[in-house]
């Protein structure tokens, strides 16, 4: 299988602070990789780095075999679902408007978006939300809104999907059905998925691989090990380690 993401000793600085350091992992085509770590561990930053929104200071990062500096070339192949707080929930858009937003890129500036309605319908179909086309986004439940935002990240039919805590704030059934949806999409469309989550249990069962970070790399679990208890144990311990490191210093920020 091909490597979709290959990170080697990646280091990232934001506003003079080292946010990521020594990040080494790889993601193979068709894999669902879970990224875990406490708040402020740098998970969002890692996704933004993969998108080329944040420059790397040291190390190497390739996405689809292209170094990050030239990431523009492969960006249309990447779908992104940002973390929940990045947008306004009561914004006056229909579900279709939200999904259509995913079609706006540097290439569509000053141009018409071709076959826009078709693409929106297809994306809504992927997440089984066709009937929500004209519904006001603000009237939807949290779980429904997340599905619409997932459709937005799929609207350009990407090969790689980056999801930042898509389950946060959902109730348990909604979380479960969302995770199942991602798994089935991954299978049907042979998507490669990078999924950030706080929910260790559900991510451990859904993911082919786990990456645990807190500024630096902690575990990089292999597909076969992920579900066995020893590796889960390790993941937990890593979480505890991280929390205690964080408490000790409150430091690096």
């Amino acid at each position: 299988m091909k490597e979709v993401i290959k990170a080697d000793q990646v280091q990232v600085e934001l506003g003079g602070t080292e946010v990521l350091e020594g990040i080494t992992f790889s993601v193979l085509s068709g894999e669902l990789t879970g990224i875990i770590g406490p708040n402020g561990a740098g998970k969002t930053t890692l996704l933004r780095t993969v998108l080329g929104l944040v420059p790397i200071r040291k190390g190497q990062l390739e996405v689809f075999g292209v170094p990050v500096a030239r990431l523009k070339e492969v960006r249309p192949r990447i779908g992104y679902m940002p973390q929940r707080q990045s947008f306004e929930r009561r914004f006056p858009l229909s579900a279709a408007d939200v999904v259509g937003g995913g079609l706006l890129t540097s290439e569509t500036l000053l141009r018409r978006v071709s076959a826009k309605d078709e693409k929106i319908k297809t994306a809504l179909h992927f997440v089984a939300m066709e009937s929500y086309h004209n519904r006001p986004f603000q009237d939807l439940s949290g779980g429904e809104q997340q599905r619409i935002l997932l459709a937005r990240s799929l609207v350009r039919q990407p090969e790689l999907l980056l999801l930042d805590e898509p389950n946060a704030g959902l109730d348990f059934p909604a979380q479960q059905s969302f995770t199942e949806l991602i798994q089935s999409l991954k299978k049907e469309k042979s998507l490669t998925v990078l999924l950030v989550s706080h929910d260790l249990m559900s991510i451990a069962s859904a993911a082919d691989k786990l990456v645990c970070i807190n500024r630096t790399m902690h575990i990089h679990g292999h597909p076969t090990d992920v579900l066995n208890s020893a590796s889960l144990d390790e993941a937990y311990r890593c979480q505890f380690d991280l929390i205690s490191t964080l408490d000790k210093g409150g430091s690096h920020s």
Binding site: R75, P82, S86, F91, P92, L93, D97, L104, S106, L109
Partner: protein
């Protein structure tokens, strides 16, 4: 009504109301969606400094005021984006110092005293042909900008992170919006005055936001409310000794209150339609 139209100043004031009403309510749509209300108040008060500087030095006050207004808007956006100082702090500083500069300059120049009240609260007699030309120019530039980048502007208001990930020139478009906001505030000061102009770029959008679940409807309603407010206010200030700025804001506030009152009816109607 007819006699009112015979006065040259009133023709100009009506044309100004049309331009200001449309411009302010279009910008208001974005101000509300992007939560820029406080910046609007900051811009208007700072531009008093620019206007006064123009009156004193002989530079066209509309030009010097615009430089202050656009400068305030864009530099506030820039400084808060770099992230060292928060937006409210920057606005708070501009707000007070611009206003202080304006008051100090105008007061020390006895000859201009009568104009201060007009500047602060607007005056229907004060719209000159020169001001109208400037308003029309601003209208053309801002309308072109909004039409060309409308989808991107809405996207940036909704979810900036996603807009950035799509490779959109977020900062450039956002700065363009701030500049448009500065220019709108400045050209509207002639009619509405420094103190109250900010309400013109807040209330129409805020009212429309309450009533609509779709941005197209919201923009349309915002413009309707803006025009009703500016024409309504103008009529009031023609028949009664009320400065237009105050009259326009009162009409807009009334519309807002009415909208709040009828909103439950809207929702019931929608509910019935769904069932």
């Amino acid at each position: 009504m007819n006699e009112m139209l015979e006065y040259g100043f009133m023709q100009r004031a009506l044309l100004a109301a049309l331009l200001v009403g449309t411009l302010c309510s279009t910008i208001s749509f974005f101000v509300v969606l992007k939560r820029l209300s406080f910046l609007g108040a900051g811009i208007s008060h700072t531009s008093l400094g620019g206007i006064a500087l123009g009156l004193i030095t002989g530079v066209d006050p509309v030009i010097s005021g615009s430089v202050f207004a656009v400068g305030t808007a864009m530099s506030t956006g820039y400084i808060s984006r770099i992230g060292k100082i928060s937006e409210d702090t920057v606005i708070g500083i501009y707000y007070a110092s611009g206003m202080a500069l304006g008051i100090a300059l105008i007061s020390s120049f006895k000859g201009y005293y009568p104009e201060l009240f007009a500047l602060l609260f607007g005056n229907i007699l004060s719209v000159s042909t020169h001001d109208l030309i400037f308003m029309a120019l601003a209208m053309v530039i801002i309308t072109a900008f909004v039409v060309i980048f409308f989808r991107e502007l809405v996207m940036i208001c909704f979810d900036e992170e996603m807009a950035e990930a799509g490779g959109l020139p977020v900062v450039v478009i956002y700065m363009g919006l701030l500049a448009a906001m500065g220019l709108t505030v400045m050209v509207s000061i002639q009619l509405a005055g420094v103190v109250l102009v900010a309400a013109l770029i807040v209330i129409p959008g805020a009212t429309a936001y309450r009533l609509s679940k779709n941005y197209r409807a919201m923009l349309f309603l915002s413009i309707v409310f803006g025009l009703v407010g500016s024409f309504g206010g103008l009529f009031i200030s023609y028949y009664y000794p009320v400065p237009p700025g105050a009259a326009i804001v009162l009409v807009l506030a009334l519309i807002f209150a009415l909208a709040m009152a009828v909103r439950p009816l809207f929702e019931n109607a929608r509910q019935n339609k769904l069932e």
